[in-house]
């Protein structure tokens, strides 16, 4: 067994909270720059320029690029030979979030109770997804998820007969209706298959894939490409003000499902497609 202390976990999460909020990863930078070159609308071009300028300033001054520093989503891949010592694992992650949001001057955007709505004051608790994998490493990814795009996400249990066309139509109609308010240009995370709660996780996990990556199966890689083209043909444009850049990428993740089911989930991500990963 390889031992990792809960303190190391807390420190890692703390630093990931700050870095993810202040610094875009290279794949997102590259995608935004490319789209600025290609954008057809003058207003759209100005919007993209303003976004890039903002994100540069954020990185230089280590300030959060968006005031909505999100609900903190933490993805963990824990090697089955890892043992956490010195404290509770979930508490260690939660403490990392609390420290990171305090030290990084990040906005505290979490309420304790969904209906009584009192702020927890430190952005805890995060939502933690854990997958057990082989090996002795611990991989932690932090994705601060803003509400603007999260609120424009959905799950639909399709009928298997609806097939490829049904999936594409639902995604396209959804982005047309809801994309404007999700702060485009978007990353569109699509989950297909599995079960009700699992398909939502697939859609969110799809957002962790670097922009430019393709689904390993050519069938789905092609569907990603076709959907991206069709979404950009919708004309929503940067911030929904019209233009040729509505999405930076479409990522599809799938899982086997029941003979009678075709679950579909769409998790939209704004242009501040933030995530940071560390491997301990």
């Amino acid at each position: 067994m390889r031992e990792i202390t809960s303190e190391e976990v807390t420190k890692a999460v703390e630093s990931l909270c700050i870095s993810s909020n202040c610094k875009l990863s290279e794949d997102v930078w590259k995608a935004l720059r490319e789209k600025l070159e290609q954008e057809e609308s003058p207003v759209g071009k100005e919007v993209l320029e303003e976004i890039l300028q903002n994100d540069r300033m954020a990185e230089q001054e280590m300030l959060p690029m968006c005031q909505d520093t999100g609900f903190t989503v933490v993805f963990v891949e824990m090697g089955q030979q890892v043992r956490i010592t010195g404290g509770d694992f979930y508490e260690a992650i939660s403490k990392g979030v609390s420290n990171g949001y305090r030290k990084g001057y990040l906005r505290k955007s979490v309420v304790r109770d969904p209906l009584r709505r009192k702020n927890t004051g430190d952005n805890s608790p995060p939502w933690v997804h854990i997958d057990i994998v082989s090996g002795d490493r611990l991989k932690i990814s932090v994705m601060p998820k803003g509400a603007g795009s999260e609120n424009m996400s959905t799950i639909k249990m399709l009928s298997p007969a609806e097939g490829v066309q049904g999936v594409k139509k639902f995604v396209l109609d959804w982005v047309r209706e809801r994309g404007v308010n999700a702060c485009p240009p978007l990353v569109v995370g699509v989950g297909i298959g599995g079960i009700f709660e699992g398909v939502a996780k697939l859609a969110k996990k799809a957002l962790l894939r670097p922009i430019g990556s393709k689904n390993p199966e050519p069938f789905y890689a092609q569907m990603e490409e076709e959907l991206l083209k069709e979404i950009n043909n919708l004309g929503l444009g940067p911030q929904g003000l019209g233009g040729s850049t509505t999405a930076l990428a479409v990522h599809i993740e799938t899982y086997p499902c029941h003979i009678a089911s075709l679950p579909l989930a769409i998790n939209l991500q704004c242009h501040a497609a933030r995530y940071s990963t560390i491997v301990l």
Binding site: E40, S41, P42, V43, G44, E46, V47, E50, I51, Q53, N54, M57, A58, E61, L63, P64, M65, C66, Q67, D68, T69, Y105, L106, R107, K108, S109, N119, A147, G148, N151, V180, N181, C183, E230, N233, L234, G235, L236, G237, Q239, G240, L241, G242, G243, S244, C270, H271, A272
Partner: protein, 193 residues
């Protein structure tokens, strides 16, 4: 920005009637911040004042004023305000017509407004500006002074009085009922509906 129009608050009907959708604006002067919870309190007060037949007690005047939908991040020591980009305006749609009727002249946020708000803007001669969602650091540099004027207990949702200089905006709805979202998207749409 392409040929921006410089505007100063308070806003008057005569000035804003000249604005057209898609026009770039640099706004200077005072804007008040308010989002979900603050709107609820403002509108609750207007309604109870009406019921009780008294003058409403509002934390700031509405006549000729501008509301910016924002919940800033905390300011680091030495900074005027933390990053402060717009939040989604549609959540404020149910409250907006009531405020426009009381003389509010403009709102600033991101995303589309409802048909009801667009109608109310036409009727009350008001406009809606969009600021770029996510451009929070850039916008915070245009804020020269910030003070809380009400609802301290709401934290990032409190009402602030901001002194802004050349705040970059785009006119999304003018006083004539036009909508940049509809027109812009129609212009760049490449598929059959």
């Amino acid at each position: 920005m392409l040929n921006p129009t410089k505007l100063e608050t308070p806003l008057y009907e005569e000035t804003i009637s000249k604005l057209k959708i898609g026009e770039r604006v640099l706004l200077s002067g005072i804007v008040y911040t308010a989002r979900d919870q603050a709107h609820k309190r403002l509108v609750d007060e207007l309604e109870s004042a009406k019921r009780e037949n008294r003058k409403p007690l509002l934390p700031f005047p509405l006549e000729g004023q501008v509301i910016y939908y924002v919940g800033p991040a905390p300011a680091r020591p030495g900074m005027v305000i933390g990053p402060a980009g717009p939040t989604t305006s549609s959540r404020m749609d149910p409250y907006t017509p009531g405020l426009l009727e009381r003389g509010l002249k403009a709102t600033i946020g991101k995303g589309k407004r409802s048909k009801g708000v667009i109608e109310a803007m036409k009727k009350c001669k008001a406009v809606y500006f969009v600021a770029v969602g996510g451009a929070a650091v850039l916008i915070s540099k245009k804020i020269k002074r910030a003070e809380t004027v009400a609802y301290d207990d709401l934290g990032p949702e409190a009402v602030y009085r901001l002194d802004v200089e050349d705040f970059p905006l785009i006119v999304a709805n003018d006083v004539y009922g036009n909508d940049l979202f509809d027109e812009g998207i129609r212009k760049y749409r490449k598929i059959q509906e």
